[in-house]
């Protein structure tokens, strides 16, 4: 068993993490630890979790995402989940894994928009 590495990249004020296609429990646990370590180190405003290549979302992964976003919020950051595939969304809904109201975005681009302009309507004018 190879342990899939998780790299947490800091870009400006944001942490970026890309999850592998089929993350196992070990990878998911590592993800949480790495994110929290980076939160402490860089004090970013937000976290973008790119799951656009993820093919299976199990209950452990879903719970960890919800938990992690709460922990990130406690440390002053906003989490956005980006790029969930249609098939994954359908399965997750049917299993009742709704990620506890975490912000979502279609793409990483949109996620960054959300983080940089949380109230764009007001910012525009």
């Amino acid at each position: 068993m190879t342990n899939q590495n998780i790299s947490v990249v800091k870009v400006r004020d944001t942490l970026m993490v890309t999850m592998p296609a089929d993350p196992d429990d070990m990878t998911v646990t590592t993800f949480q630890e790495e994110v929290l370590r980076a939160m402490e180190k860089y004090r970013p405003k937000g976290l973008v979790l790119d799951i656009s290549v993820v093919e299976t979302l199990d209950s452990f992964f879903a719970r960890t995402i919800t938990e992690t976003s709460r922990m990130v919020a406690l440390m002053g950051g906003q989490t956005v989940i980006a790029g969930m595939r249609p098939s994954v969304a359908i399965t997750a809904t049917q299993l009742g894994l709704t990620l506890g109201g975490t912000l979502t975005a279609l793409t990483v681009d949109r996620a960054l928009d959300l983080l940089t302009h949380p109230h764009p309507r007001r910012q525009r004018r």
């Binding site: 980006a82 249609p86 979502t104």
Partner: protein, 281 residues
């Protein structure tokens, strides 16, 4: 004077004076509309009724003594040996749907019932086959399936009405299969058009039951998980009443009474504004 007796162990008939039971049973078989024929365990045809003549086009004189494989289309060479194998083990073959070839070369769909025939000692000596022409029936069934598929196809379009806005008009009632297909189409379209807002229009839905509402909520949740926002539009008074009476919680869902009002919400989300040409909003 009537007396009950059993012929060949199974068929009960009433025995009457001066009455030929064998001939009576033979007449029943002969007058049947289904094709009924007997065959040896090697598959050679021993008897052939009128129904069989009508169905296959061969007269008894033409077919008696020939193997049943004579009636089987060349594409199914293993079928008769398999049926005979099962008969030798004493098994019946029931409602077996297959194809047979008529004398004029036409292939017909048939449903076969084949059962072993035993002699007085219980030894299997042959088999009787009842065949029914189900060509029409099968055509009808296929036409129905085809129609159902067509309805499924035409009734769940997903349209892009603006950059970043897709509309999915629901029509009719939603069973699980349609809901599933609808949801897949909608989600794929959202990805394809990179749309942040999906308007789910229920103007064409006559009534909402708990299950339909459940499907709607599931769709809305999936849309949200993907990072887009769903707006439920076309909620007519009757639908609103039913939803409230059923106690379905749509508190987290943005709803509007018309598609136009929904489009306004969508434009708002996208920070777009429609203004008239003389500059007034």
């Amino acid at each position: 004077m009537a007396k009950r007796s059993r012929l060949n162990g199974a068929t009960a008939v009433i025995e009457m004076k001066g009455f030929d039971n064998q001939a009576f049973l033979a007449a029943i078989v002969e007058s049947s509309d289904d094709a009924i024929y007997g065959k040896t365990l090697e598959g050679n045809i021993l008897s052939w009724n009128h129904g069989a003549e009508r169905m296959y086009g061969y007269s008894a004189a033409e077919i008696l003594g020939r193997p049943v494989s004579f009636l089987v289309p060349p594409t199914k060479p293993d079928e008769v040996p398999q049926i005979l194998e099962r008969l030798k083990r004493g098994e019946r073959v029931e409602h077996f749907e297959t194809a047979r070839v008529r004398k004029d070369g036409e292939v017909i769909d048939v449903s076969l019932n084949v059962s072993p025939i035993r002699d007085a000692s219980g030894k299997i000596i042959g088999a009787s086959t009842t065949a029914r022409d189900i060509t029409e029936q099968k055509k009808m069934r296929e036409a129905l399936t085809q129609r159902a598929k067509e309805i499924l196809d035409v009734s769940t379009p997903v349209l892009q009405v603006w950059e970043g806005v897709v509309v999915a008009p629901f029509i009719g009632t939603l069973d699980t299969q349609r809901a599933q297909q609808f949801m897949e189409r909608l989600l794929d379209k959202i990805v394809e058009t990179n749309s942040s807002v999906a308007l789910l229009d229920v103007t064409g839905v006559p009534t909402v039951d708990t299950r339909t509402a459940q499907h709607l909520i599931e769709t809305i949740t999936s849309v949200r998980l993907m990072g887009a926002q769903a707006v439920l539009t076309g909620v007519r008074p009757a639908i609103a009443q039913t939803l409230a009476h059923l106690g379905i919680n749509l508190a987290d869902v943005v709803t509007r009474s018309s598609l136009a009002a929904g489009l306004r919400v969508a434009l708002d989300v996208l920070h777009l504004k429609i203004s008239s040409q003389d500059g007034e909003a």
